[in-house]
């Protein structure tokens, strides 16, 4: 195959030309690649470097330990205990089904749980733990740990959960925590990232909720390097969080426990205030419930009875409840009249059993009337007519203003949920809120703490403490935060005439200690513990003329919810007031029979700092009291803390 040399040269030249063309194109393309590289790596380097760091570094939150809550003597009321759950990691487990089968032989495992775990394991990344069972007992944890070799990939994990060792005794003070709900998140403008951590617990009511900011603490963070599938490769940096602050309450756990036990299943409330500091040493509302039931989510079998009970165990009656103060309000009316100079201590009024005001008859509780009474007797015997008369002279505006000075109608700022402000009515209030004019009968009703007048047991206790001391006592619930003492609640003097106050105290002393006083049966006979007080019985119904005609139905013949509320306020010792107590027994009947005995028991318990000597009681009561003390001694709070250490 011979070829023409010229032709060969021509084709070789052509090849050279085209090779040069193609080679040039290739080099040009490479130049383009270099330019692109320069654009990405030099011009945009900063932006991509940032993206790479974002890829690589993940910020994880470390939940802080929630602050614990103690009583005034250091008794733990809310604590954090380890809670265990059992998790499985697919890549360590290998054959998940076989491992679950083996686990089911060791601990009880519902078939449903098994299905859920299998589905979840399939969905999530192989290195992520999937929870098999939450909240397992220590026993089960040990069983799993002992059998670890047979259960690859199955490990117990530990977290912290809240426990209330004093259970039902502090449900209405400490409150409770629960899982963060969507409603909790919605309520906050800028929710803490912590709240998004699964299983994070947030305060739901009372101190736990109202002091959430102090108790929660702040999250720590750790920067971890993660790979593309999210597996943590190593920890780069760690910033420890701040644990929540420990709170010490002013409440005395033993006293509180005694009060709750004393109230038992009665629908009642007791507040005890320390007159020297304003400390709330007991704040009991009965019946109560076990807050531990709520922590992991309460079952409807547990919840429905609480919700439906006529005695409303979920309501904190000491601060949430508003009741007509009844005769316990008479001191306010008397003080208003005394301060105005409208009545002197020796001025008397005649009680025929009723007065007629604006064509309406207003009866005294004693149908036959008290005859001639002075201020002291009017308190001692709780004569209503005397106060109708006073109130008409003083007028509602002055009475309500005086009530405000004693802490009624004012919302006391306590870290409890739904603290009520009660109501001290005025003419303007009735006009704007009720749309009606104030009538004279409203004043008459208000004079004996009925009608529109409303107060909470807390307010009544504050009122009593203020009468006892003449100072502006404000209740205090938080004693210290992380050991830092909080300001006490002893305010400035009220600026009232001391003589007038002394007359009130004297009157209240007679209520309890005078043979003719309404609470004489509930007196304390120990010297230095003498108690002064005032009974109150507030109607929750109107007594009709027809009813009155055939004789007023006695309380115990009425259905429970229509019976009168029983109230009693007191302070002791009379000569050097230490504690002020208010007692409310819903629909309990008369204040002297239902409320005063409770007040005496709790007052003595507070004064004695434990079980009081029987000698403080009148001799006739001692046998009954001895029996009662024996019964109450061993009552424990409801606190369902299964499988967990209660210490």
């Amino acid at each position: 195959m011979r070829r023409n040399r010229a032709e060969n040269d021509a084709s070789h030249n052509k090849l050279t030309r085209r090779a040069a063309l193609l080679g040039g194109a290739q080099l040009l393309f490479m130049g383009g690649l270099a330019a692109r590289m320069r654009y990405l790596q030099v011009d945009q380097a900063d932006q991509f470097r940032l993206l790479a760091e974002e890829n690589r570094i993940n910020i994880r939150l470390i939940p802080p330990a929630r602050g614990e809550i103690f009583d005034r003597n250091g008794v733990r009321l809310a604590q954090n205990v380890p809670s265990y759950r059992i998790v499985i990691v697919r890549e360590d487990a290998g054959d998940v089904e076989a491992v679950l089968d083996r686990l089911a032989q060791i601990i009880t495992l519902d078939p449903e749980v098994r299905e859920r775990v299998l589905a979840e394991v399939k969905r999530s990344a192989p290195f992520l733990p999937v929870t098999i069972i939450d909240d397992v007992s220590w026993e089960d944890v040990s069983k799993v740990s002992v059998n670890a070799p047979a259960l690859p990939g199955v490990t117990p994990e530990v977290g912290l959960t809240r426990v209330y060792p004093r259970g039902s005794h502090f449900a209405h003070v400490v409150g409770r925590v629960g899982r963060v709900s969507q409603a909790d998140l919605d309520a906050l403008e800028d929710p803490d990232q912590l709240l998004r951590i699964p299983r994070f617990q947030i305060g739901k009511i009372n101190v736990e909720a109202r002091q959430e900011a102090l108790l929660r603490g702040s999250a720590g963070t750790k920067q971890v390097e993660v790979n593309a599938t999210g597996r943590v490769m190593r920890e780069l940096a760690r910033r420890e969080g701040q644990s929540g602050a420990d709170l010490q309450l002013t409440v005395d756990a033993n006293l509180q426990g005694y009060v709750q036990a004393r109230l038992g299943e009665e629908s009642a409330a007791v507040v005890i205030i320390d007159c020297e500091t304003g400390d709330l040493v007991a704040n009991a509302s009965a019946p109560s419930y076990d807050p531990n039931l709520f922590i992991g989510g309460i079952s409807s079998a547990d919840y429905n009875p609480l919700l439906q009970s006529l005695y409303r165990p979920l309501v904190n009656k000491t601060v949430q409840g508003s009741y007509p103060p009844g005769s316990t309000f008479k001191m306010i009316v008397a003080m208003a009249a005394l301060e105005e100079g409208l009545v002197g201590p020796d001025d008397t009024a005649y009680c025929p059993g009723f007065v007629e005001v604006a064509d309406r008859k207003f009866h005294c509780w004693k149908r036959a009337g008290h005859g001639w009474v002075d201020l002291g007797n009017s308190l001692k015997q709780s004569c209503d007519v005397y106060y109708y008369d006073l109130a008409l002279k003083v007028g509602i505006e002055k009475i309500s203003a005086m009530a405000n000075r004693f802490g009624l109608g004012i919302r006391h700022d306590l870290p409890l949920s739904s603290v009520s402000s009660g109501l001290t009515p005025t003419k303007d209030w009735k006009k704007t809120v009720r749309g009606a004019d104030w009538v004279i009968g409203d004043t008459v009703n208000a004079s004996i703490g009925q009608g529109f007048m409303l107060a909470s047991p807390l307010q009544l206790a504050v009122m009593t403490a203020r009468i006892a001391t003449g100072r502006e006592i404000t209740p205090r619930l938080i004693k210290s935060v992380d050991g830092v003492e909080q300001p006490q609640g002893v305010g400035a003097p009220l600026g009232l005439n001391e003589n007038n106050l002394r007359q009130m105290r004297r009157g209240m002393y007679d209520v309890v200690n005078n043979r003719r006083g309404t609470a004489y049966k509930s007196r304390i006979i120990a010297d230095g513990m003498r108690m002064a007080g005032k009974t109150g019985t507030s109607q929750v119904r109107n007594i009709t003329a027809a009813e009155r005609a055939r004789g007023v139905t006695r309380n115990r013949d009425l259905p429970w919810e229509r019976r009168d509320h029983a109230l009693f306020v007191s302070f002791a010792p009379y000569d050097k007031p230490r504690y002020a107590v208010s007692v409310l027994v819903e629909h309990g009947g008369g204040g002297s029979t239902a409320a005063a005995p409770i007040a005496r028991d709790v007052m003595l318990q507070a004064l004695a700092g434990g079980e009081p000597p029987l000698e403080a009681y009148p001799t006739g009561d001692r046998d009954r009291i001895r029996e009662q003390q024996r019964k109450l001694r061993n009552i424990q709070p409801m606190a369902k803390i299964d499988g967990k250490d209660q210490a």
């Binding site: 070829r3 070789h12 040069a20 690649l33 030099v42 945009q44 380097a45 790479a52 390097e225 599938t229």
Partner: protein
């Protein structure tokens, strides 16, 4: 001018051939492979297993293949071109029936001691066969329709088989390399103009067919095109590869993050970090300077190949050398464009650097042919 007319006296014989090897080219190839070992060591987290060690063994084997091929006279290889083409064609057919399926495509033949991709072999044997064809064909017939149709068939039939596997990347490479060889051989430019025009028409048709009953590409291929056109549209899905690859490149900066310090590859954000996307690791760890250095090495290889091709008076040798250089160029140009976000992700490895046995062996074999042409060039 054919070697037959030439005295073969001046062609070196025996061990003397070693002295006449194109040593600069061999050194360039070895250094590129060396970079590959470095990178494979790095992406394994500083370990020879699982990638660097087998790759080094294959390189040793490939080096042996290269020298063996180089010492065999080029005319023997020319005479074997037809057979080589035929064998690779049969292997391609075989793979279509008994091939092993991986990741949704059927590309591999299990030879017992290694897995072979016949399409890799076809890249070289196609160039060989075309070079032999144009060496045989008188220059004046080159542009005649029948003599143009013949090489078109030689190119298109295996391309169709590869496309069927499906392997879009390799079929584009085959098509372009074959077309490039025809261009070098001197086929009239009007044919190319016509092909480019109809190619544009075909692309239009491909897009028009989407979603219809006569859809021309697989859905995953369309998705890759979509991803290429707008990677941000699906940053966690199909666009993930390109986005992460650009982040890796970009975060390298001028000098890179340092050897074995690349977070993108070490933490597995990069897909296929030891194969198709190995360049991103290099660029992340050694920066712009590292990337451009590798590109320069590649450019030098191309330049050396074109140089020796143009000095060679033997038409088969010239065409073969240029064709192999073109193939090599297409390899890394497509791969780099892909990782830099200039081309869709088509699954073409970075030549001599990416982990992969048959690709490296076949490339070294091809450069053995270039060396053979160099040693046995007419003098």
């Amino acid at each position: 001018m054919s070697y037959l007319e030439h005295s073969v006296k001046s062609v070196p014989t025996g061990l003397r051939k070693v002295l006449f090897l194109n040593w600069p080219l061999a050194l360039l190839l070895a250094s590129v492979c060396g970079i590959g070992f470095l990178m494979l060591y790095s992406v394994a987290g500083g370990s020879f297993s699982p990638w660097a060690e087998p790759q080094i063994k294959r390189f040793a084997l490939g080096l042996g293949v290269m020298f063996t091929v180089a010492f065999v006279p080029i005319w023997l290889w020319r005479n074997l071109s037809g057979v080589a083409y035929g064998v690779s064609f049969l292997l391609l057919l075989a793979v279509a029936f008994i091939g092993e399926e991986r990741k949704g495509s059927q590309r591999w033949l299990d030879l017992g001691f290694m897995d072979l991709q016949p399409s890799e072999l076809m890249k070289i044997t196609l160039v060989m066969f075309l070079a032999a064809y144009y060496d045989w064909l008188p220059a004046k017939k080159v542009s005649r329709p029948f003599w143009v149709l013949l090489p078109v068939l030689i190119i298109c039939i295996p391309t169709a088989l590869v496309l069927k596997q499906p392997d879009l990347g390799t079929s584009i490479l085959l098509l372009t390399a074959g077309g490039g060889l025809m261009f070098l051989a001197g086929v009239h430019w009007a044919y190319f103009a016509a092909v480019i025009a109809s190619g544009a028409g075909l692309i239009t048709a491909v897009f028009q067919s989407r979603g219809t009953t006569w859809q021309l590409l697989n859905d995953y291929q369309y998705r890759r095109i979509d991803t290429f056109l707008d990677p941000s549209a699906d940053p966690l899905g199909a666009g993930y590869h390109i986005t992460q690859s650009k982040i890796a490149l970009g975060s390298g900066g001028w000098t890179g993050r340092g050897y074995m310090q690349g977070t993108q590859s070490r933490l597995n954000f990069l897909p296929e970090k030891h194969t198709d996307f190995i360049f991103t690791t290099l660029a992340e760890e050694f920066g712009f300077i590292g990337g451009v250095s590798l590109l320069s090495l590649y450019a030098l290889i191309i330049v050396f190949c074109i140089g020796t091709a143009l000095l060679n008076k033997d038409r088969f040798s010239s065409l073969l050398t240029l064709g192999i250089a073109l193939n090599f160029f297409l390899f890394f140009a497509v791969n780099m464009s892909m990782v830099m976000g200039l081309a869709p992700v088509v699954g073409v490895p970075l030549p001599l650097v990416s982990y992969g046995g048959s690709a490296m062996l076949v490339l070294l074999l091809a450069f053995g042919l270039v060396q053979s042409a160099h040693i046995h060039r007419p003098r």
